[in-house]
């Protein structure tokens, strides 16, 4: 019942918040574009046969010398910018969402267990979290990436880039989930319904995931949105630094790094269009995150 009322109230607030509406529209458009990239993109940027050097460096359609076939122009290899961006966003979102899922499962699991069992287990998890919180996420991710480079044999490194990158991002983001889940679990541990469930002799896993988890989802959802933005930013930053993905499978960050080469020449669109796209995506997600936070924290309203 409470959930029902809250949902409707949330919907009401949502329709009356223009910023959240616009952000949601942008986010949905980008998401759809990324999901359906193979069907709507003009060329496949991974397939060298699908584009031609003769179409290289064409400006966007509103400038002189453009080819109307390429609405936002082409890069130096003749790749259609829109296609590159759609495929790039696809890769960025896949990495961001998988990293987020891993981080959430790991963090929420550890947080729930820490809050449920308390004592020594809780102390160990929280000390690890403290140490990791002291290291900024990007440093952790860089370090994990560096270690993976040292451990993995050179032959399979290229194939595992996406997996390594995802894991590096996931391992630098789990702490937020763990701390929030633990704090909320602590609050619920003393409530009657949890005590009753424990007293009835239910399995700890059942108490944690069936009874407590649904009741602490609100704050976790907020962290999910905020951290999705962080994950996408981290991926973009690592790829921009040349540590993330190789140039033949460009994510948004890689596209921006490639575009940097054109900073001094006239082909501004190769740099600025992917950049704008990344910023719009992250701003949209952050606005949605802010909206959710206000929704679940009525005190701020």
């Amino acid at each position: 019942m409470i959930a029902f009322v809250k949902k409707n109230e949330g919907f009401w607030l949502f329709v009356h918040s223009p910023a959240a509406m616009v952000a949601a529209i942008f986010a949905v458009i980008i998401l759809l574009g990324a999901v359906f990239a193979p069907w709507i993109a003009l060329v496949n940027p991974y397939d060298l046969a699908s584009f031609s050097l003769f179409d290289g460096l064409l400006p966007p359609v509103w400038l002189d010398g453009a080819n109307p076939k390429y609405l936002l122009g082409t890069d130096d290899q003749g790749r259609d910018m829109i296609s590159s961006i759609l495929y790039g966003a696809r890769l960025s979102l896949v990495i961001g969402l998988s990293a987020l899922t891993i981080a959430a499962v790991l963090g929420v699991g550890l947080g729930l267990a820490a809050g449920y069992y308390g004592g020594r287990f809780d102390a160990i998890v929280m000390r690890i979290a403290d140490v990791q919180l002291a290291l900024p996420a990007i440093l952790t991710a860089l370090l994990i990436d560096g270690i993976a480079r040292g451990i993995l044999p050179a032959a399979i490194q290229q194939d595992l880039r996406v997996a390594v990158l995802t894991l590096a991002i996931a391992l630098s983001l789990w702490v937020n989930f763990a701390r929030t889940a633990r704090a909320s679990t602590f609050m619920h541990m003393n409530k009657e319904y949890v005590q009753a469930a424990i007293m009835m002799g239910q399995h700890p896993l059942r108490v944690m995931f069936v009874h407590i988890l649904p009741n602490i989802l609100g704050p976790l959802l907020v962290i999910m949105t905020v951290d999705l933005a962080s994950a996408i930013l981290l991926e973009a930053t690592l790829s921009f630094l040349g540590i993330g993905l190789p140039a033949d499978s460009p994510s948004l960050g890689t596209l921006i790094r490639i575009g940097m080469q054109f900073l001094l020449s006239g082909e501004w669109w190769i740099l600025w269009i992917p950049t704008m796209f990344l910023v719009v995506l992250v701003v949209s997600i952050n606005i949605l995150g802010d909206f959710l936070r206000d929704l679940f924290n009525p005190r701020l309203r």
Partner: protein, 323 residues
Amino acid sequence: MVYFILKRMLQSVFVMMAVAFLAFSLFRFVGDPITQMTGVETSVEDQERLREELGLNDPFIYQFLRFTGDMLKGDFGFSYRTRQPVADMIASRIPATFELGVVALMISLLVGVPAGVYTALKPRGVLTQTILMTTLVGVSIPTFVIGIMLIFIFGVQLGWLPTFGRGGTFKIGAWESSLFTIDGWRALLLPAITLGVYQLTLTMRLVRAEMMEVMRSDYIRFAMARGVPMRSLHYKHALANTMVPVITIIGLQFGGVIAFSIVTESVFQWPGMGLLFLESIRFVDIPVMGVYLVVIAFFFVLVNLIVDLLYVAIDPRLRIRDV
């Protein structure tokens, strides 16, 4: 009080030991040091002899203690990539990163604190709303994009400022400084702003939240009722009490500044520790990575220790509690 300081110092030592252990494990288990040091033509017997000579067959704990001892003596080993002492490589990069970080922090505080106070005191103002909207966009724009934008506007379009490197530096002993030449400041300005912008938004939001909290408190209401002039109320009573969190912010931001200086240094090709760290990751230069980690952790622990001690100096209540 003495007990408090001692306890904090002991904690710091433990953190440093943990980081040293991590650095050592990196060095010892990620790749084989012997294959890194020798070429393909070195015979297996020679490799084994070298392994024995370097003590790599000793028990793990021995090796770790020796590693820590060497570090304390200032011996950080040699880079796999350049074959130079890591200590020299890092030391020559410290001034660049340090100056960049300090100037960025100054920008963040000198703009962030007044902006935070203003937006807290005039929560419904048009300027406040504008500032808040701008910071929301500001936190969403990645550091490297801010850097590229600044390069594009001030370096490429207007041609006012250089876009890479440190410009003219001035040597004081071994410390290469860019703070004493106009050229150096010109080169420093864009990277420092890039690094400062993100921190600035955090500072502003935290100061604003803290200030609003204080303004709601009883003693401020009482002072208001007593007729204390608004000006003195805002800047003497309220602001003084937000200083503790502001110091925390500086401590916390230090980590952010260090981490994002990696990105900023990469965008501007600023020859600091961050750029060195990136290069060492790219070439799997484990000794440099490990030492970078230890050096950063050391600064980190040091700053946090100073912050804690400053608390005691600023907040008289803490002094009484721990005597």
